[in-house]
Amino acid sequence: MSGSGIRSSKAFATFVENIWSSNPIFVMVLGVCSSLAVTTMLANALVMGLSVTFVLCVSSLLISLVRKLIPEQVRLIVFMLIISTFVITVDLILRILLPDVSKALGPYIGLIITNCNLMGRAEAYAIKNPPGRSVLDSLGTGLGYTLVLLILGFMRELLASGSLFGVVLLRGWTSWNLANIAPGAFFLLASVIIVFNMLKRKKKTAVVTADKPRQR
């Protein structure tokens, strides 16, 4: 989409595009639930982001490998079964390796199944493209998602308790409780969206003026 696709291959361009210019949360506003619910602590946000990325990549790989065998009428239920199988895998792994985080994330790991990004990528990309490109596409989406979760987790944990990854950084910090509760999550996401759109608009106008000067 943006003009820099000359030297990079098409697949790589999709990868970058999914991280930034069509970021799953900022631009598409998909999968917002978990991005708000799990970002009270930076560690939880990181685990959630990586879990989503993992499920995205492996389910895309599998769907892309068997894409010619899936009858069109039942493809949605096949996607769903594949995705939920990998979500169960992630849930079991987390319960064993990181029991505390798993408990804190509660039902939100299970809710990866209904994260619209997974169905979205399967339906829009993996069903039509070869495995390599599908995984790259999903990796971009997953990393874009993780990026937003990390930004929100960073802001919320720092503002609410003056710590990062549970390590206290700001001593004597008056905890800003608003960042910890639901309304604060909405306001912080909205402010991050403002900054994102400002950056994007700036970049776009820069590209436009470089290509062909337009009077405004």
């Binding site: 506003v29 998909l30 999968g31 917002v32 639930c33 978990s34 708000l36 619910a37 949605l76 239920i77 769903m80 079964l81 939920s84 199988t85 979500v87 169960i88 849930d91 079991l92 509660g106 039902p107 299970g110 809710l111 199944i113 209904t114 994260n115 619209c116 169905m119 509760i181 639901a182 309304p183 604060g184 999550a185 909405f186 306001f187 996401l189 909205a190 969206i193 403002i194 759109n197 400002m198 608009r201």
Partner: protein
Amino acid sequence: MSLVLIVLASAITNNIALTYFLGMCPFIAISKSLRGAAGMGLAVTVVVVLTTVANYLAYYLILVPLRIEFLAFVVFITIIAGIVQMLEILVERYLPSLYGIFGIFLPLITVNCVILAVSLFMILREYSFWGTVAYSFGSGFGWMIAITAMAGLRKHLAFSAPVKNLGDAGITIVLAGLMALAFLGFQGMLA
């Protein structure tokens, strides 16, 4: 009495959209018109009660006795998809007037996180059978209140000029934050 408390708590003080952030995608995408929002809310309420009760039965009568609780995710999502599909066919066939109001939203509902989340919470919180009915109804109804109120608020946006960089989704998120603040006021009401 405790059933009434469960309904009120899940609909108002612990509103599923505004405190647990569930069902945000349709909450932002479909709250442009009041009619659409109400239809979607109604569809979610009906489906969430049916599917949660079915999942309750499947979990405690089949999965627990067989000790295969870890399969819950796959079983739940399959049951949800099946019920939604069946409901769509039945409503279209026998209640065409109702189909116009909320039937068109049914295909979207399988991936609405409210539906799956209520089933998962039902297990985590170990509700009884009637508790499950009350909780699922309260959650669906609360989500309907939230999305209808949001549609009402968004109508007034036509007369105001929010920050340009916020975009359509951004201003909806700010409104949701304000609504969540307002709903915080209900807390303590049921303590």
